[in-house]
Symmetry: C2
Amino acid sequence: MDEVKVIEIKKSIFADNEKDADDLRKELKRKGVYLLNLMSSPGSGKTTTLIQTINRLKDKIRVAVMEADIDSDVDAVRIREATGVPSIQLHTGGMCHLDAEMTRQGLENLPPDTFDLVVLENVGNLVCPAEFDTGAVRNAMILSVPEGDDKPLKYPLMFSVCDVVVVNKTDVLPYFDFDLDKCREHVRMRNPAARVIPLCARTGEGVDAFAGWLLEEVKAWKENQ
Amino acid sequence: MDEVKVIEIKKSIFADNEKDADDLRKELKRKGVYLLNLMSSPGSGKTTTLIQTINRLKDKIRVAVMEADIDSDVDAVRIREATGVPSIQLHTGGMCHLDAEMTRQGLENLPPDTFDLVVLENVGNLVCPAEFDTGAVRNAMILSVPEGDDKPLKYPLMFSVCDVVVVNKTDVLPYFDFDLDKCREHVRMRNPAARVIPLCARTGEGVDAFAGWLLEEVKAWKENQ
């Protein structure tokens, strides 16, 4: 097994991240590449959800993954071993988030093929990543059942910037005080337009809905080029 | 029920947080106040663990709690209702961590009694809070079983600055791929001196060990004044 490519991300020098993110989005639009920014707490199951989702999409579209992490490359290795799609690791060197320029450094290090979908797995953190536009077409986040249905109350910005909230680990609903209706209501308070997609990445239940949404998104993005 | 006191924390102006934190620690030493900085991911069960712990300590020592949160005051209300001890909410206004000066702003807003133990529940985040010394005597963190035993590999700084790692939600060990021995090993890699205390805040199992450690710590801090 080859080693996974590890990119040491440098701190951005751009002052105007909003503009830089818009430029990156336009550039991706021209190339027909859909970038998804996936955020969550540590341990919510981002990588497992991604593996299940990619395995449903990889025969239909060309997918690549950029795994951002403070340290370690375990996630990029896992993704590549479990899906076979290109996956690189972005080391943030202690930084708690990614901005557009840092995302661009990752994109420039992907294999030179073109991809239909690139997923950026952001640093596990419900606070800082929400503050920085990465240039992605959409933001999605994963809230896992053990974290509790009150998280939209406590991390308002994260939930207001996300277009999709995946509720993961539904298989353990019987063991936790997590009310899915209450969760939907809390998400709506922060972002009335957000979709809530419950699923269980371990068993695969519900993953089709998320994969289906993503496939439609990618198609629409490429059609309107 | 009175409203809980909510403090809007202002951004610190001190450039030298290390020195400020040392000064705060000396000040707390003089007053015989033990400050514990409790950190974790969102949803790991900090508040429930605190409630169980405080209910075992409150007849032996005087305890107060400062709950830091981006927004909302649900935790401070919960703590006060479930334990009866004084509890205030610190709003960080979007900031992802607390430093010593911000902690001091909280301490100055506690009721004018003296306390033996003040617990600072830091912002739910495994990245940024680890970078700032709050002036606490000790750092503790909670890792919950659903988050996975690999977290010390991914968030090295957090685990290296913590003297105690509480492993919470042990009641759901049968439903997750979490290996307690592997977890201990990963913690040791980051900090050979750290204690690992497994417990279940929901059932109360194992909480005595954490409460016992904390009581000994508080006593030792006050004895050597």
